[in-house]
Amino acid sequence: MSVLLAIDWPMIVEKLVLITVIISASLIIAMYSTYAERKVAAVIQDRIGPNRAGPFGLLQPLADGLKLFMKEEIIPNSSNKFLFILGPCLAMLTAMMTSAIIPWGSKIELFGRNIQLQIADINIGVLYIFGVVSMGVYGIMIGGWASNNKFSLLAAIRGASQIISYELAMGLSLIALLMLTGSLSLKTIVQHQMDPGHRWNVFFQPLGFLIFLVCAFAECNRTPFDLPEAENELNFGYHQEYSSMKLGFYLFAEYINMFISSAIMATLFFGGYDMPFINEAGLNTNLAAIIGVVALLGKIAFFIFFFMWVRWTIPRFRYDQLMNLGWKVMIPLALINMLVTGAVILWLDK
């Protein structure tokens, strides 16, 4: 009995509510990202885009989801059934898991409790991100392998090598950032950017941000790095054999990845939930939290738009160009950035 009493039950309830809210929010945002993607593509190409389902076509994602659910489930005879189903599950799982450590806002006071708007503030936050993101490659790899299809396998190999190559540069570009803040916890990184006298990290690390941005595109398999699903050469690549909601999961995972990586970019380089030109310290806690969440969502929305904007502007890289860019440009640049940052920090400290 005393063991049960010792557990902080309100804390568990609070975290469960937070998890539910964040997961459903990211699902809804991913849903409407598909709508936004079609709208952005349309306006960039001088079209109107979906406008039939509901006002301004706002019910289009629901209609798309319904369509995917109604489709026939096809599992190819020659595929490995277990892995075939595991693939999309893993893709979805790893996409959602990263959301656990992103600080969505400072804290709110409710029922006399201070509730942190972050599922888990772990002190190795950045490492956790890298761990989960590199697990994301298994979704693609397993899906492509289990399909037992040449195109899928090629796509899976491409995807795996691409993600592994760009992860290196991504990690190196973050080391410079970590030298600045001296912490791996995302909460601390955001606090550091919010402190008076400090600026958003992007002003100190423009090159680092650029490398991180490019690598984020590659990690999310977004154009210009969408080689794993290259529609016109690999026939949609690793999810070619998938149908119905399993295909939906893959497509959905891509949008959730986009949302999460936008959140991470906003958190690491653009001050997270820091609203510019407002001093949150002087405000009511709850009000400050709401302003923070809105600020973070605004930054995320901009990055998601940016992802789409780039997609409808740039054609796909050739595979050798992709590898050249990753190994011969991004990694040396990230190394130089790291060295220069370290040197400057040492020089200024003296």
Binding site: V43, I44, D46, R47, W309, V310, T313, I314
Partner: protein, 182 residues
């Protein structure tokens, strides 16, 4: 070599400059172009709500005209069927009986008048051939259908609404082409 047209563009195969090799500058230029397109006027016409206006010489579905008193003008002379290059028009004539003067304008009328809209090429020669101003091409087009038979339009489909009982529908069906002809 002398250029054959003035549209020739000489390709320069120079090695890429530094600015071009780092991609970023050109990508930014491209993104600026796509950004400008967001604010461009969209040429799309949302079809059922707004319709593209027809040109004044547009030739659509045939219509069988009535006179001011609502009597059919057609006398089944067959000139339209003769003029038709795709042989889309068939008709059968009948004689007007006493007491039918309010229905038909002349002593002879078309008991059956059919146009096969799948054969019709909407050339308007029937309209030109008609001496009684009875057939002309309106400003509508044939709605889609699943059966071939439903594209053979008979008198029910072709006759214009009666100007006396349904004046509004009559005016609408008359369109701009008939007014000009009158």
């Amino acid at each position: 070599m002398q250029a054959l047209t003035n549209r020739v563009k000489v390709l320069e195969r120079k090695p890429m400059t530094f600015l071009e090799r780092i991609y970023l500058w050109n990508i930014m230029k491209g993104m600026f172009i796509t950004f400008k397109h967001i604010f461009k006027r969209k040429p799309t016409i949302s079809y059922p709500e707004e319709k593209r206006p027809f040109s004044p010489v547009f030739r659509g579905l045939q219509i069988l005209n009535r006179d001011e008193e609502g009597r059919e003008r057609c006398t089944a002379c067959g000139l339209c069927a003769v003029a038709c290059p795709s042989e889309a028009i068939t008709m059968e004539a009948a004689e007007r009986q006493p007491g039918e003067e309010h229905l038909y304008r002349e002593e002879k009328y078309a008991a059956k008048y059919e146009i096969n809209m799948l054969r019709c090429i909407f050339c308007g020669l029937c309209e030109e051939a008609c001496p009684k101003d009875a057939v002309y091409l309106s400003e509508t087009f044939a709605p889609p259908n699943f059966q071939r038979e439903s594209f053979i339009y008979d008198k029910n489909d072709l006759l214009i609404p009666d100007p006396k009982t349904e004046p509004d529908e009559y005016i609408r069906a008359l369109g701009n082409r008939a007014k000009k002809a009158n």
